[in-house]
């Protein structure tokens, strides 16, 4: 795995940091690679934009911060707006379809999921971040599925493992059903601007 930079963003309370933490843990502790996670330490509060960054690599990570992410995971409109221009020209956008009015760009692969609605369907909107994590894991293919599932189990509060694993699997299945391996992502309209919000 060459150095891969990721930014996860959303609003405070959505579990942005936990989502990034599990990605980092799966890659470093379970898959035997290296990952450095940094969470933003601004005046974030519940409801305002919040983000965490990750550098993943099979080599020692020297530079801890990210410059331009290869993958941008957006769970809220505010977070998306704040960071969308950082994404590399050939980067991958992973977004919450109902909450993020994504402006898809040519050259960037984009994958949307209604992760909040799926989480609500599982009975707890709180697990939206883990639905998104499952979707991210399937889209990126960076870390073997079982390693990420194990990291979910080891990171969520005791007693919620089953629900969270269900959420993870739901996100993963959404990718398989709506995109599938090798998918190019959402089509970019001629004007290169598409609002996925119906």
């Amino acid at each position: 795995m060459s150095r891969t930079e990721i930014r996860v963003t959303g609003y405070g309370g959505q579990g942005v940091v936990l989502c990034a933490y599990i990605i980092g843990r799966a890659n470093a502790v379970n898959a035997g690679n290296h990952s450095t996670m940094i969470q933003s330490f601004g005046p974030e509060a519940r409801g305002s934009a919040c983000s965490a960054t990750l550098a993943l690599s099979d080599e020692e990570i020297l530079y801890p911060y990210i410059r331009r992410p290869d993958i941008f995971v957006a769970m809220s409109a505010e977070g998306y707006d704040k960071h969308r221009d950082e994404l590399k020209p050939k980067g991958t956008l992973v977004y919450e379809k109902d909450l993020v009015p994504a402006r898809l760009k040519k050259g960037q692969r984009s994958f949307g999921i209604p992760s909040t609605r799926i989480a609500e369907g599982l009975g707890r909107s709180l697990v939206q971040n883990i639905v998104m994590l499952g979707f991210f894991a399937a889209v990126s293919g960076l870390i073997p599925r079982d390693e990420v599932r194990k990291a979910v189990e080891d990171s969520v509060p005791t007693g919620t493992e089953e629900l969270n694993l269900k959420a993870f699997d739901a996100g993963w299945s959404y990718f398989e059903e709506h995109y599938g391996a090798g998918a190019e992502g959402d089509a970019v309209a001629a004007a290169t601007v598409v609002s996925p919000v119906a």
Partner: protein
């Protein structure tokens, strides 16, 4: 002696530097922490206060940093391994009682998760501008020991080292972290308790009546008697004789202070610790510590690609400074390049030891982030021109 398993969270973890530092303290046997939580160090005491009840430890949130350091010094005198945790503004307030700790020869650990300064500066962003404060912050002559970790793993390892050094030399030992390491999450391997070497307090075996609390025992480090063990003695910040009683004389001051200094200076070769790479035949040596050591390596790699012979010295123990090695190298290299997140602190030590034989080039950073590797490589290239 081996670590007490109660404090050792054996396993492979994904932890930030602050949590790892807290785990290091608990693994080292720390059972008393007093502090006044401050960003970016707060997570250290969050971790400790959550886990301490499981191992019989005590955490007290004090009214301020003066009281925190006073409580740590007091607790250490009961024989308990003690620590406080702070950042720049709190470090300033602790200086008075750090000096008391040094004068009374109190083994304890002070963690400073450095942020940008001066004053309240940049609470949530990195700095390395307290390095000279760690050396000279409290008044009078004393010799501190300080370590600087560059990763959460080293935050764990070096905190254990800090406790061991504090016990060995009976001094306050500083763990000079920075916000970037404190708030970065990486893999941390915590070994089984039986693989962690711990230095216990060296308690006196002399009976009360024969014991002198400040007697030189050959290695300049006096033996310890815990408060409450039945020994009658006195300890004070005033210049004192071997009994610990104040004595206001030039002779006593000479004896007292020179022993305080000599117990560290005389063992400096044993205490200093650094990693040295490819300095043989190097034209330039980059000296760095803490988070900057990681970015410095990138700068070194960039310069090597352009054909420059660059060596690396990464300080693990920053105080005492490895004077001897820098003096030796200064006879062989053109210049030292010293990147640090401040406007020139450890570079002054390099300059002092190089004494004009080699250049000492600072790559400054005012704080709030880390260096661009390019700024370091261009300083290296500039040094060989």
């Amino acid at each position: 002696m081996k670590a007490d398993p109660a404090g050792v969270l054996t396993g492979v973890h994904y932890l930030d530097g602050d949590f790892a530092c807290g785990e290091g303290a608990m693994a080292a046997g720390c059972r008393f922490v007093a502090g006044y939580p401050i960003t970016p160090s707060t997570e250290v005491v969050e971790r400790i206060s959550r886990r301490f009840p499981m191992m019989g430890g005590t955490f007290i949130q004090m009214e301020d940093e003066l009281a925190s350091m006073a409580a740590v010094v007091g607790a250490a005198w009961t024989g308990t391994k003690s620590m406080t945790v702070t950042s720049g503004p709190g470090f300033s307030l602790m200086m008075e009682n750090i000096g008391l700790g040094a004068m009374m020869e109190t083994p304890c650990v002070v963690v400073n998760v450095q942020r940008g300064g001066p004053s309240t500066g940049l609470p949530t962003m990195a700095g390395q501008a307290d390095m000279m404060q760690a050396r000279w912050g409290s008044h009078g002559d004393y010799e501190p020991i300080a370590l600087s970790p560059r990763s959460p793993q080293e935050a764990f390892d070096f905190t254990i080292d800090a406790f061991n050094l504090a016990e060995q030399y009976r001094v306050p030992v500083f763990v000079m972290m920075d916000e970037c390491v404190g708030h970065m999450t990486e893999k941390v391997v915590i070994p089984p308790a039986e693989e962690i070497e711990i230095v216990p307090r060296k308690l006196t075996e002399k009976p009360p009546g024969e014991y002198l609390p400040y007697q030189n025992n050959g290695n300049k480090v006096p033996e310890f008697a815990r408060a409450g063990d039945g020994y009658r003695f006195h300890t004070t910040g005033l210049t004192h004789d071997e009994r610990g009683y104040p004595e206001m004389s030039e002779e006593c001051q000479e004896k007292n202070v020179s022993r305080l200094l000599e117990k560290i200076r005389g063992s400096a070769d044993k205490i200093t610790r650094f990693v040295e790479n490819e300095t043989d035949g190097a034209d330039v040596v980059v000296l760095s510590y803490g988070i900057t050591a990681r970015v410095a390596r990138m700068g070194i790699d960039l310069a090597r690609k352009k054909g420059v012979k660059v060596g690396e010295i990464r300080l693990e123990v920053v105080w005492p400074f490895p004077e001897k090695r820098i003096r030796e190298l200064s006879k062989k290299v053109k210049a030292f390049v010293v990147p640090e997140i401040n406007y020139g602190q450890m570079v002054l030590e390099v300059e002092r030891c190089a004494a004009g034989r080699a250049g000492a080039i600072l790559v400054p950073h005012a704080g709030g982030g880390v260096h661009d590797p390019e700024s370091i490589s261009s300083a290296i290239l500039g040094a060989v021109k």
